[in-house]
């Protein structure tokens, strides 16, 4: 089968503004969109630029706006988007500066990540073996541990688009992962950070983040849980 792969191109060294390039690509229904991009880069136009690495949805490199929705190019198949002769559009994720073609500046995203203290805090001397944790307590924060920091959620959020200072869904998911970990002692510090005007109260519950997450994390629900924790100052 063939599809028309329509890619938003922009190289600031050469282009005044972004423009669309369309390639007619031969493919199979089970091909990943990443396979199509690779085909164009390797055999048609080597200047096409994007990030990619693992090619199966666990490293988070290739989040893009594909046919109107944020997804990983390696985790969405042609057959899930269109039929023979159809069109697939690919654009960079929104709200972060485009460096070149489909590749954006990730630094502001990781800055928000670092702002929520995304690490285990417990200053008590550990036991000789493991700290014990019941399966139920472990389950409490499981969803957040799936996050691969691809930025699909944060860059689908309309609040983030208009206010880049909003920490955004991914950072809140990271905070949630530690706030609800029974072994962690940093909850109060994190809740104070998330109670500021860049924190959880910016969320307008649009559910874009939940729809965008390629790991099926219920992002909006986790943000709601953090809101409640901030409100009642307990978990």
């Amino acid at each position: 089968m063939f599809v028309n792969l329509k890619i938003l191109r922009y190289n600031p060294e050469k282009d005044k503004r972004p423009h669309w390039d369309t390639h007619k690509v031969e493919c199979e229904p089970g091909d990943r969109v990443l396979d199509l991009l690779n085909h164009v880069k390797w055999y048609v136009d080597p200047t096409l630029t994007y990030r990619r690495s693992c090619a199966h949805g666990v490293c988070g490199s290739d989040a893009m706006l594909i046919s109107g929705r944020n997804r990983l190019a390696c985790k969405i198949l042609v057959r899930d988007l269109t039929k023979d002769g159809g069109t697939i559009t690919v654009e960079p994720i929104r709200g972060l500066r485009v460096e070149r073609d489909l590749l954006v500046d990730m630094e502001p995203f990781f800055e928000s990540y670092r702002a929520v203290l995304p690490f285990f805090i417990n200053d008590e001397a550990p036991p000789a073996g493991e700290r014990l944790q019941s399966p139920e307590d472990r389950e409490r924060f499981d969803q957040g541990t799936k996050c691969i920091l691809c930025a699909a959620c944060t860059t689908s959020c309309p609040i983030f688009w208009v206010n880049g200072r909003y920490l955004g869904p991914a950072a809140i998911v990271q905070a949630h992962r530690f706030i609800f970990d029974s072994r962690d002692h940093g909850t109060e510090r994190r809740l104070n950070i998330l109670n500021q005007n860049t924190g959880v109260w910016r969320c307008r519950t649009a559910y874009n983040c939940t729809e965008a997450c390629p790991r099926e994390i219920p992002v909006t629900q986790l943000i709601e849980e953090v809101k409640r924790a901030v409100m009642y100052q307990q978990v």
């Binding site: 089970g30 880069k41 994007y50 693992c54 090619a55 666990v58 285990f120 700290r131």
Partner: protein, 585 residues
């Protein structure tokens, strides 16, 4: 641009981050990490099933049993000093990860959960044992995230998206080789940077992308192994390259051995549980080399499934849905996404996939890089993880031992590199340390050759798959030697069309193809030279293990005076507690 750090770590996967964290604990040294990717995108994150450690949380276990399994799993080519340090230290290392907050799955009593994995046994081979400590089927992801989180907490300095172009290794006044730093390309700007360092830790992973069907990320192109080899320095035991039995058919995406640890069964087209014929005692939980060969034999004898009879089946349908979806959620998702197959209801099409290099840059048990087979060092240079060969894995790595390797030997390398740097001074850099790197880039960017790097890579991957994969013969490998000579010649005529500086990924990929060709050359020569079958190196023309002639490590050197010619040397195996015996399961 010029930088100076006491310790520079190259690579930000499990072993690189572990090195950096432990080097940073030494407050007398400055530490920086350089990574081709963002650290959280390193391939450690794709590891699924678990990290093996004899915690004994489910049933009785001892480090001696783990050491034995590792040595036997490695077909007795494992260095037993490394295996002993490993089996003891990995227990504490797992507890340390837990203390760093790593979210292991838990048993009802609150302890770290453990499950069975291939080749891990109790009482020196009697029956499978629950040794794999796991966090659902995202154990590697959790290790990578946890170590990155701790790096953020510790304020480790990162240079993200820098691709290494050269190692600065010079002879000192006494003729000893000394590493003085690294030259790298800042991918975002195209600028060349020189990193002057007292010690360098290489932790840059493997080279699965030399093969057509692989579980490895697109970024795993053997960069640092190749750069080491280009200096005339040796690569150890490259002929031992592991094919994981269960990659998703055609795509190669990994399906964890934990699926068989939870009770999954391999079946051929007629539904037969064929592993009973190949490993009667532990069946589907035999080590990877044996299972991959068994699959290959089934396919060759026409018992494959599908219209082309080119894949087999991993059957989980007899397991309760809670086990499949609860303990193996990611691979359930992969099968549904990429194959449209629901593992709860249908068996999953699989085939062996290029997975892991047992060989690499030779090191001591403290991660010191070896310059030859006689124990001479490249002073100031360390290596850990898949890029290295401390020879823990010997001729075949057991499942879960790669994650254990990262945390045990990453830590040791980081501590040793920092200690060395503490007592060393900055060795003088050569006059133009970046001259070679700049020349390479100039050649690729201004060349007029008409060769396309991607086409060369494709031919490399297809021919390596045909000629140097699960089974090899003199004929197939000799053919591959010629193929590689031709591809090397064509590579000289590669030119890059993209002339821009920022994010020139055509350039970075072309460089990677050069690395892949070199490591494939060393690997093929090593395999052609070893005239026996051992672990992952299975020769149809020499089907038996031959301890009398071949109980030794291969050291492959590039002949710098004759391009394309590989010089082979050897290094003795460190034996000890466990005498080599026939390997049956």
């Amino acid at each position: 641009m010029h930088h100076r750090y006491d310790v520079l770590v190259v690579g930000a996967g499990g072993s690189g981050l572990m090195s950096a964290l432990y080097a940073s604990k030494n407050k007398n040294v400055s530490v920086a990490v350089l990574s081709k990717l963002y650290p959280t995108r390193s391939h450690t994150g794709a590891a699924q099933g678990g990290v093996g450690a004899a915690l004994g949380n489910v049933s009785e276990d001892h480090w001696e049993w783990h050491m034995f399994d590792t040595v036997k799993g490695g077909d007795y080519l494992t260095d037993q000093d490394a295996a002993e340090v490993f089996a003891k230290d990995v227990i504490d290392a797992v507890y340390e990860l837990e203390h760093m907050g790593l979210p292991f799955s838990r048993l009802p009593d609150g302890k770290i959960a453990q499950r069975k994995f291939g080749g891990h046994t109790k009482e020196f081979g009697k029956a499978p044992v629950e040794r794999a400590c796991y966090a659902v089927d995202r154990t590697g992801h959790m290790i990578l995230q946890t170590l990155y989180q701790q790096s953020v907490k510790s304020g480790v300095t990162f240079f993200n998206e820098y691709q290494v172009l050269d190692l600065i290794i010079e002879d000192d006044a006494l003729g000893e080789k000394v590493c003085r730093g690294v030259v790298a390309l800042e991918i975002s700007t195209g600028e060349i940077h020189t990193f002057h360092a007292k010690s360098v830790v290489l932790a840059a992973g493997g080279y699965g992308r030399a093969f057509k069907v692989t579980s490895n990320a697109l970024s795993l192109t053997g960069d640092l192994m190749s750069i080491y080899y280009r200096k005339g320095l040796p690569l150890e035991d490259l002929e031992f390259y592991q094919f994981h039995p269960t990659g998703i058919a055609k795509l190669g995406i990994l399906i964890t051995e934990g699926a068989r640890g939870e009770g999954g069964i391999l079946r051929n087209d007629s539904g037969e549980r064929f592993m009973e014929r190949y490993a009667p005692t532990i069946k589907d939980l035999a080590p990877r080399d044996m299972v991959s060969r068994a699959i290959y034999m089934e396919l060759r004898e026409g018992r494959g499934a599908g219209k082309d009879k080119d894949y087999l089946l991993l059957d989980l349908t007899h397991l309760p849905r809670e086990i499949v979806e609860g303990r193996l959620p990611d691979i359930t998702d992969f099968a549904r996404t990429y194959l449209g197959v629901d593992p709860v209801k249908q068996p999953v099409p699989i085939q062996p996939t290029a997975h892991y290099a047992m060989g690499g840059i030779p090191t001591s048990i403290d991660g010191e890089a070896l310059a030859d087979g006689n124990g001479n060092l490249v002073r100031g240079l360390y290596a850990a993880g898949e890029v290295a060969c401390v020879s823990l894995h010997g001729a075949n790595r057991l499942g879960t031992n790669s994650l254990g390797d990262l945390i045990v030997f990453g830590k040791r390398a980081g501590i040793a590199a920092a200690k060395y740097a503490e007592g060393a001074h900055f060795e003088e850099l050569p006059a133009r340390p970046d001259a070679f790197a700049k020349g390479e880039i100039e050649r690729l960017k201004s060349g007029t050759g008409t060769e396309n790097a991607a086409r060369i890579r494709k031919e490399l991957q297809e021919t390596m798959m045909d000629n140097v994969s699960i089974f090899r013969t003199d004929e197939t490998m000799s053919r591959q030697v010629e193929v590689l000579k031709e591809l090397q010649a064509r590579y000289k005529n590669v030119s890059v069309h993209d002339t821009t500086a920022r994010y020139n990924t055509e350039l970075t990929e072309a460089l990677e193809v050069g690395y892949l060709l070199d490591v494939a050359e060393a690997m093929t020569a090593s395999a052609l030279n070893r005239k026996e079958s051992r672990g992952a190196h299975a020769r149809e023309d020499y089907p038996d293990r031959d301890d009398e002639s071949w109980l030794k490590h291969t050291m492959a050197y590039r002949d710098l005076s004759r391009p394309g010619n590989v010089l082979i040397g050897y290094k003795p195996v460190v034996l000890g507690r466990f005498e080599p015996k026939p390997r049956v399961y």
